[in-house]
């Protein structure tokens, strides 16, 4: 009891000593501090900083955004024939929803939300029109001259695109090589003499690749000095002629030139 009264006395003494201007000044400062704390409470939501320097509810607002593009596996349930065909085809890497658009709503209610099918000729060239910027090897056409005026889907099945009739001749697809060879010294050597070609190559060329010669000895079968080939075939000494390289690093096999 004594202690407290002593303390109170001391505080009173101290308070009297504080200059008047400091007391007055401290009132608005106090108000400012209270104001700041109150405003902070008002403006900064309590879930701020829960997971980082942001409002936790902001994440939920973002995450509640509606999904438009569904999962690919969803189509199988009702269109198994299409899915099966496509998964075996050249278009196996092209998702259904690339061509048919986002389908989440269609899966919920197929009749109510019908999907468009891009049957018009202008669509496929988005991917297949020839552009020098595209990676080499990607199948491209010049749509102006590639069977003009007819819908692409009248010849190619969009879910299993391939040349509509399977060509027998190598020329159908390798026209440039065939033309080149026709003017070369190798004109009478057939393609399959050098490329053992599986039959399936004509149907799915990229999945079943022909063999390509891989050694110097292959050319030597005709061009070696001791080879049992026809008299007219020009000969080289396999030991010394271009020894460190395979032959086609210097001679293009479809148009071999010596001079």
């Amino acid at each position: 009891m004594k202690d407290i009264s002593f303390l109170a006395k001391w505080a009173k003494k101290f308070w009297k000593k504080v200059p008047d201007q400091v007391v007055r000044l401290s009132i608005p400062i106090l108000i400012l501090i209270i104001g700041f704390i109150v405003m902070r409470n008002l403006l900064v939501p309590s879930d701020f900083g829960k997971y980082g320097h942001f409002r936790a509810a902001a994440i939920d607002e973002l995450v509640s955004q509606e999904i438009q593009y569904s999962e690919h596996e969803m189509c199988f349930e009702c269109h198994d024939d299409v899915v099966k065909a496509k998964n075996m085809s050249y278009h196996r890497g092209v998702e259904c929803e690339v061509c048919h658009g986002p389908a989440a709503a269609h899966i919920e209610d197929p009749e109510g939300n019908q999907l468009p099918a891009p049957r018009e000729r202008g669509y496929c060239p988005l991917c297949h029109e020839y552009l020098p910027s595209r990676p080499t090897g990607f199948p491209q056409i010049v749509s102006e001259s590639h069977n003009p005026f007819r819908a692409c889907v009248s010849c190619h099945d969009a879910h299993d695109p391939k040349p509509p009739t399977v060509p027998k001749e190598c020329e159908a697809c390798h026209a440039e090589i065939a033309r080149t060879k026709a003017l070369s010294h190798h004109v009478y050597i057939s393609c399959i003499r050098c490329h053992k070609t599986p039959k399936e190559h004509n149907i799915r060329p990229r999945a079943h690749r022909p063999e390509k010669p891989s050694t110097r000895e292959f050319c030597g079968e005709c061009h070696d000095e001791k080879a049992p080939s026809a008299k007219g075939v020009p000969r080289v000494n396999m030991e010394t002629h271009g020894e460190r390289y395979v032959c086609w690093q210097c001679h293009y096999p479809h148009l071999p030139e010596a001079h």
Partner: protein, 257 residues
């Protein structure tokens, strides 16, 4: 004129009372808000388990622009030109080291053959998007803290907080942000955050017909992205800015800026 002549003491008293009375609903409101939010993070998705990133294989991109198109559809981005969360650029390198870069409508409508007089040296496509920097300059400049980086490495915008001041647009070295014409707030790629937290891949990755885009976790585990990064020589855009992007390019030409 009596009214205007209040004493200073009176004024101060009234000030204190009014500040206090204004603040009480605010305090209550804040209390309510915390009760409402039941976060997705509490429903099984743990952001600490992931660190998302994207890989892009330049030599596979055919410039069909389906990624830019799908992004607009998935995220309701205005279908006008100039508004993109992701887009495709075409680089054309001509004789004499002249570089032409174009991106008509961001690639959404595909590309037409570019007509030029000089001889073409090489040409290729470069898909672009927000680089989801590990040290995002946009987060640093936001005056209201509306743009932030999550634990799993994605930079997002709180559109309720954004005041549309455009500082972040200026700060982004990759030109990945824009002001949405309807909401007037900043927008950008979210890595389709609403999809990835549910185990789906971003829309642009899903529709890529040649699998030029790869998405996944960079955090240790076996993912397509980890494999991609191990198998390829990786480059990022503008490495000298030390933004530490999480969009990784394979086969990127030195001309790409």
């Amino acid at each position: 004129m009596k009214e205007a002549n209040i004493e200073r003491r009176d004024f101060l008293k009234r000030l204190i009372v009014s500040v206090l009375s204004f603040s009480s609903p605010g305090l209550l409101k804040a209390q309510e808000k915390s009760k409402e939010s039941t976060s997705l993070y509490e429903k099984g998705y743990d952001p600490e388990e992931h660190l998302w990133g994207m890989g892009i294989r330049i030599n596979r991109c055919i410039g069909c622009g389906r990624c830019a198109d799908a992004c607009k559809r998935e995220n309701d981005v205005p279908r006008l030109p100039f508004f993109f969360r992701t887009w495709v650029e075409r680089y054309i390198i001509l004789e004499g080291d002249e570089v032409v870069v174009d991106s008509p409508t961001g690639g959404v409508d595909g590309f037409k053959t570019h007509v030029q007089e000089k001889k073409l040296v090489r040409s290729f496509f470069v898909p672009k998007l927000c680089n989801q920097c590990d040290k995002p300059p946009c987060v640093q400049v936001c005056p209201v803290g509306a743009t932030y980086k999550t634990e799993d490495g994605v930079t997002l915008v709180d559109s309720e907080y954004c005041i549309g001041c455009r500082y972040c647009i200026q700060a982004c070295p990759y030109g990945a942000r824009f002001i949405h014409p309807r909401t007037h707030t900043a927008e950008k790629c979210t890595f389709c955050y609403h999809r990835i937290v549910k185990g789906l891949i971003p829309a642009c990755v899903k529709v890529c017909p040649t699998q030029a885009r790869v998405f996944g976790d960079t955090k240790g585990r076996a993912s397509p992205l980890v494999r991609f990064m191990r198998m390829n020589k990786i480059r990022v855009l503008k490495p000298y800015l030390n933004t530490e992007p999480k969009v990784f390019y394979a086969g990127l030409d030195m001309e790409v800026k």
